[in-house]
């Protein structure tokens, strides 16, 4: 293994690590990415195998505490109502993500000044817009231009079919006079650049063997490796090192595939380990200069953890909804209740997302992200024969507000297989979120009935989905004030001038949309700022 110093060291080969590597490619700097997991050839995706559903409950679970693979780290979620989920390997969580691709909206960047909650971002939607476009092009995004919920933009590919389910629900929204739009998706509606268009099998979380889903294993990484970016797998970073005299990061210590600990030196270190992995790594990087964790003079590393708490409501229709035909998550999205309205009893808002139906085993076991089997016996037969095929559902995806007590810390006992302390999540739902969830459930029922549902199914309890920790944000937030934020407006740590963070941990607020289009747009923006400021980068 060649551990010669590099110019740029990126930690994590997921959505954000890939995007910033692409942005920095043109600088001709020597770029190395260290990734704790491996490449996953598409022949190994469960979606290629007959017993694919079993994999969802074992080695291909989205929950690292279920998978327990060598490359995973355990997460203690005992003090949380939501557990973080991910994939650790080349592509990161875009291996098992569902490809729903909404952008954040202009008001998401100004929640403090508009609605008196959260904080304003130190940049705005219009600054990010060109980077959203660039990333949509690189990823292969499909959708319909002209969505009145956004300033004008047009996805590069036409929309994927919304299907019978989407059309039925759309008519319900029209009946109510509420906003809806075909979802933007990181899924190809037409063949593109050697990738095949979506085949509508609906097993998107089990690895998209068609290559239609824009995981970075299919988009950025092949391009980057061809261009000479070195991607070293099975390389788990234990600690980021600092020079105690200059305060600069000098590189990292990592556990290599050979089982030994190596030092890798670098001029510039970029952390892209997702909203739980990044604060974990910083908190594990203690030194005399940073006794509370690297770049943590503000005390904000790990604080303000946000998810998108969600719940689901389903309607039973008279005809089969064909919800199994098409990508799992994405058909239509309503943002009718996205912006604040004081009459609703909460601030900010939520989206109503129409998922398609999940596979039979997952439905029988309680649904995606839930462990709560449906009834057995005659009732089971009745549900599977006469309810399941007739379902169309909506999920209420809420905006979580930043709250300091929701946080990532280090577990005093739990470690990964290399003995590195594991993260512990402390998280509870805020009252504002609970009010949103209740409001959203009621509106979802209304619109399902308007669309023709004969009966409504809800869980009827106050619980959110347990494995809804898909989106992990806020734990190293952006800001102009070094006392209240971890990185500046372009991702550079206030405390360590050659250390950058580019994943969802830098979000200031969460919006009520899936985050990855914004995470990657931000990473491209940060790459652009690094290039613009290259002469004075470390001043």
């Amino acid at each position: 293994m060649n551990n010669d110093p590099v110019d740029v060291l990126i930690i994590g080969a997921g959505a954000s690590g890939a995007a910033i590597a692409w942005s920095l490619l043109e600088t001709r700097m020597r770029i190395l990415c260290l990734e704790q997991g491996d490449h996953l050839p598409d022949k190994d995706f469960p979606s290629r195998h007959e017993d694919y559903e079993i994999a969802r409950y074992g080695a291909f679970s989205c929950d690292p505490n279920v998978r327990r693979l060598q490359q995973d780290y355990p997460i203690n979620s005992d003090d949380s109502c939501i557990t973080p989920v991910n994939w650790n390997g080349v592509g990161g969580s875009t291996i098992n993500f569902l490809g729903h691709w909404p952008r954040m909206r202009p008001s998401d960047f100004r929640t403090k000044s508009l609605d008196g909650v959260g904080e304003d971002w130190p940049l705005d939607y219009h600054t990010l817009a060109p980077f959203y476009d660039m990333n949509d092009h690189n990823t292969g995004v499909s959708g319909l231009g002209g969505n009145p919920a956004y300033p004008d933009y047009k996805p590069p590919h036409p929309p994927i079919p919304i299907g019978k389910l989407g059309q039925t629900l759309a008519r319900g929204f029209n009946e109510k006079g509420w906003h809806w739009w075909p979802s933007d998706v990181a899924i190809l509606s037409e063949d593109d650049d050697g990738r095949q268009k979506c085949v509508n099998a609906g097993t998107c979380d089990l690895g998209c063997a068609a290559g239609a889903k824009g995981g970075t294993n299919f988009t950025y990484w092949p391009m980057l490796e061809n261009a000479g970016v070195e991607l070293r797998t099975r390389a788990r970073v234990r600690e980021i090192l600092v020079d105690e005299s200059t305060g600069f990061a000098t590189g990292v210590l990592f556990h290599g595939a050979d089982g030994r600990v190596h030092e890798q030196k670098a001029e510039l270190v970029i952390v892209a380990c997702n909203g739980v992995g990044t604060p974990r790594l910083l908190l594990n990087s203690k030194s005399r200069l940073f006794p509370d964790g690297l770049a943590n003079r503000s005390g904000k590393v790990g604080k303000n953890l946000m998810f998108h708490p969600l719940t689901g409501v389903a309607g039973v229709f008279e005809e089969p909804m064909k919800g199994h035909e098409g990508p799992m998550a994405c058909s239509i999205l309503s943002q009718e209740f996205y912006e604040s309205d004081p009459t609703r009893g909460f601030v900010r808002g939520y989206g109503l997302h129409s998922g398609r139906s999940t596979t039979p085993m997952t439905y029988a076991l309680g649904g995606y992200g839930i462990d709560s089997p449906i009834p057995w016996g005659a009732e089971h037969r009745e549900i599977m024969d006469n309810v399941y095929p007739y379902l169309a559902g909506l999920t209420v995806v809420t905006e979580d507000l930043p709250e300091e007590h929701n946080c990532v810390t280090l577990d005093p006992d739990l470690t990964d297989s290399d003995g590195i302390p594991a993260p512990k999540i402390t998280y509870k739902l805020g009252d504002n979120t609970r009010a949103m969830l209740r409001h959203g459930e009621d509106r979802a029922k209304e619109v399902l009935l308007a669309a023709g549902a004969k009966r409504i199914l809800t869980k009827g309890d106050d619980k959110v989905w347990w494995r809804a920790g898909w989106h992990q944000m806020g734990t190293c937030r952006l800001g102009n004030n070094p006392e209240t934020s971890v990185v500046n407006s372009w991702g550079r740590c206030h405390d360590v001038k050659n250390l950058f963070i580019v994943d969802g941990s830098i979000f200031v607020t969460a919006g009520a949309v899936n985050p990855t289009s914004t995470i990657q747009a931000l990473a491209l923006y940060i790459g652009d700022q690094i290039k613009t400021n290259i002469a004075t980068l470390f001043d």
């Binding site: 099998a201 609906g202 068609a210 996205y338 039979p360």
Partner: protein
């Protein structure tokens, strides 16, 4: 793994499984026991201690029940041994629905294995236009505060 070999797949387990997921004869859908899910469950029990212990407890209690295996006695097992019962239920659903032949019968398609999939027609531009017309007619629904760097 110690005791799993004591479990005979032809035991009352088949009967319990048939109660958990009954057949639908009108559509030729077999019950879980008929389909042979007991083999899946006992093989899983060989790998998982907790399931193995649960199975032994459930089967030994089932053997004591005078009325044999009926929906009522299975309900009794659920009430008396809830955790063990839940483990068996989860494994039964896994074993049953991981069978491609069953997936094909459950009333929706089988979620085919890649690269196979479904032909789903794209909506025509006219249909999309018609559906989105009321949404567009209401105009922009976002707030766009004064921008720039905060």
């Amino acid at each position: 793994m110690s005791e799993h070999s004591n479990i005979d797949p032809q035991s009352p387990l088949d009967a319990i499984l048939d109660v958990l997921i009954p057949a639908n004869p009108s559509r030729n859908i077999p019950a879980a026991g008929q389909l042979g899910v007991a083999t899946f469950v006992t093989e899983a029990a060989a790998q998982k201690n907790a399931l193995n212990t649960a199975l032994i407890a459930l089967l030994s209690r089932a053997g004591e029940l005078a009325d044999g295996i009926t929906p009522d006695t299975v309900r009794q097992l659920e009430t008396e041994l809830p955790e063990a019962f839940n483990l068996l239920l989860v494994e039964t659903y896994k074993g049953y629905y991981s069978r491609p032949d069953i997936r094909a019968l459950v009333g929706v398609g089988a979620h085919p294995v890649h690269p196979a999939g479904y032909e789903v027609a794209s909506e025509s531009p006219e249909l999309l236009n018609e559906l989105t017309a009321p949404v567009r007619a209401r105009g922009p629904v976002f707030r766009d505060p004064p921008g720039g760097q905060a």
